[in-house]
Subunit: 419 residues, 2 copies
């Protein structure tokens, strides 16, 4: 049946009866399918070991618990859980999240208000809608989260890239840039950062840089969008509080999500920020989807209320830690001279830099022929200026396959380096 429909649709796609393009908005005409997604369609064969994904491992989904919580949600809160909810989100969930921010990070709940979003992706789009005028200057890390670029790009900002090193965003270079812009009479509106276990970089911003970034925000009057999806996925090293922890002036808009500490399938995430900002984001959300799916919100609230989070985070950490180690060991063992990679303390990704002159997008098909896939790094740069990098995921693939995948990748790289 599935194939039948798809065949009919393909036929239909050939049978043009309207001049479809004529109806699209100018913005829509400029929207292109992500080439990464197109590339990755090549990878659906089970022969290929894909290190390209960005998915949590389903082994970490607490299925029995979710069954129990879903039942509880209906039995005890059915009328609310199955009904429309408020745009801002299910109040008991907002309260639980506020409590969690206080307990886990020391962020006083009186400092923030919480709005629930349909994944952090919706949060990013809403932030674009509420804060970005065409031409506004947005600072992003280089590399940065692909889909954040996609969300923001719709609002026509001007991106400025600041490179990462092992301690996260190069705040010294940011400061130089800010001075330079100021001299030109220009101003940065937002700085977008994933400070902890960055996607795709894997690196974590040091405590000193976090504080310095806040000082700069105050001095140069910009807001910080802090995206924290991986915060809890720490496998080694010391916890560092979110930037929001030091935020006295309310300049940090913090994005958190249940996707990595519970399950992505609920699409339940949150924005924690100044009540004034939340109020405007709420109004913007009214026109977008009325409310986030309430059933998922009630289940997430029960998850926090039941005190399951801490124990489950331990389980997730224990599950991913060896995978990270296996990947780092395999990289050490098999990668040829001249290839470098980050050594993350957590998260889901390792970032690999290969010798200059090798274009990882051009190399992609050859790697797939050898039975391994990765994400070519180019698309993670706002200006697409860097060709010799790639992102590897270690959370999804079985342990043995990580080793075999790195082996194959090393072979593909050796050939490319010879050519």
């Amino acid at each position: 049946m599935e194939e039948k429909l798809e065949r009919k649709l393909e036929k239909k796609l050939e049978a043009v009866t309207l001049n479809y393009e004529a109806y699209f908005s100018e913005k829509a005409l400029g929207m292109k399918a992500s080439e990464i997604r197109e590339l990755l369609k090549l990878v659906e064969s089970s022969e290929i070991i894909s290190l390209a994904g960005g998915l949590p491992n389903p082994e970490t989904f607490p299925k029995d618990l979710i069954t129990k919580l879903a039942q509880k949600a209906i039995e005890e809160h059915g009328n609310a859980a199955l009904q429309y909810g408020t745009t801002k989100g299910y109040t008991p969930l907002r309260l639980e999240i506020a409590e969690m921010l206080r307990k886990r990070y020391g962020i006083p709940i009186s400092k923030v208000d919480i709005m629930i979003t349909a994944g952090s992706q919706q949060g990013l789009d809403l932030i674009g809608r509420v804060f970005i005028n065409p031409g506004d200057i947005i600072v992003v890390e280089a590399p940065t989260y692909l889909a954040a670029l996609q969300s923001f790009r719709y609002y026509d900002p001007q991106f400025i890239q600041i490179p990462l090193d092992d301690e996260g965003m190069r705040i010294d270079l940011l400061e130089e840039k800010l001075k330079e812009l100021k001299a030109q009479g220009k101003k940065v509106k937002l700085v977008y950062t994933i400070p902890t276990f960055q996607n795709p970089g894997g690196v974590t911003m040091s405590k000193e840089r976090r504080k310095r970034l806040l000082e700069l925000a105050s001095e140069y009057d910009f807001l910080i969008i802090e995206d924290g999806p991986y915060n809890e996925l720490r496998y080694r090293g010391e916890e560092i509080p979110p930037i929001k922890y030091w935020d006295e002036e309310g300049r940090v808009i913090y994005l958190g999500t249940f996707s990595k500490i519970f399950a992505p399938g609920f699409r339940v995430a949150w924005i924690a920020a100044e009540p004034h900002f939340i109020r405007k984001l709420e109004i913007a959300k009214q026109g977008i989807d009325l409310c986030t799916n309430v059933f998922g919100q009630v289940i997430a609230a029960e998850y926090l209320k039941g005190g399951y989070l801490d124990k489950h985070i331990e389980k997730i950490r224990a599950f991913y830690k060896p995978k990270l180690e296996i990947m780092l060991d395999a990289l050490e063992k098999y990668m040829p001279e001249g290839v470098k990679w980050t050594k993350p303390d957590g998260g889901m990704f390792v970032w690999v830099t290969v010798p200059e002159g090798i274009d990882t997008k051009e190399m992609f098909e050859k790697a797939v022929a050898k039975g391994v896939a990765y994400v070519p790094g180019e698309a993670f740069f706002a200006d697409r200026g860097v060709k010799n990098t790639m992102r590897l995921n270690f959370t999804y693939v079985e342990d043995e396959k990580i080793v075999e995948g790195i082996k194959r990748l090393a072979e593909a790289l050796k050939e490319a380096m010879k050519a």
Copy 2:
């Protein structure tokens, strides 16, 4: 705990540390909280009978079935249901919806492709994003769905209103308008209609008008956005197929939802349209939320696959039918001379027109003082030009309260008419 947070937040809202407005985009500065929502905050007392809502009755939620389906979703499809999904939607659900469109409405599945959205509201926003350039002319019914106006308005269209009568949109007046615009060298881009049991009007577009609307779409080259949330809520009269049924050229973009035939809390809805249009809507959705909550989609798919829909629709109809009758009888019995109302064959709303000169928004507080609430009609008009109307909901309130509510409303009206 709830109150504690809210108190702290209110305090915070007073303690301004940043010049918040300075950071908002120009569009965001123009976004205002819906005054309707603000008005309705007055109505939270249990003493007041609210006919203002737009909610399905939770008595119609099949709770036991949902518990069973949620369990099944996790047991049989847990890895998919709890994971990220594709932007277009969970394939088994898309197939089931296509099947349903074929069986219930006779729309051949080869004619459409389906994309799942987070409620029809997201569908409306996506349509705005993909089709509306600033200044584009959008025809809406007068009155029309409030939140559709809100969604479209973000994209800066020019609205043209076409009045309703008992057979839905006045297609003759639309044709006049189209001719007039053509003479001016202008063109309508989209016509937005809720043809069946219109919100807020309650009326249904006749078969003849549906066909004529399509002819006009072809002649004047516009697209039709057909919003069909209430299609299945028919309590009397003969079924009329959706406009999409007669759509040979692919000009109709159809919006359907599970909110009224299952439960709104899942926020699972769909757009059925030409594959070329769906493809662009899909790309637009990538930047907005990656995917609709998968858990809800899997449950909805199991709901359709298990064949529960037909029987459940019968139950919903049996539950709402007497409520509609009770409201219509009470209006007949209690309303003073000079007050008119629609006689819907289904849906959730009755639309009341009171004598000119009475402003239902001004009258609202007095009605609340008498213990009844409604939605003043003004906001349902794109130009806010009509003051003497109101929307009444009959699905949510208990039967006795409908009668008592109408009695109180009649009293408030009599006083206003005397004044």
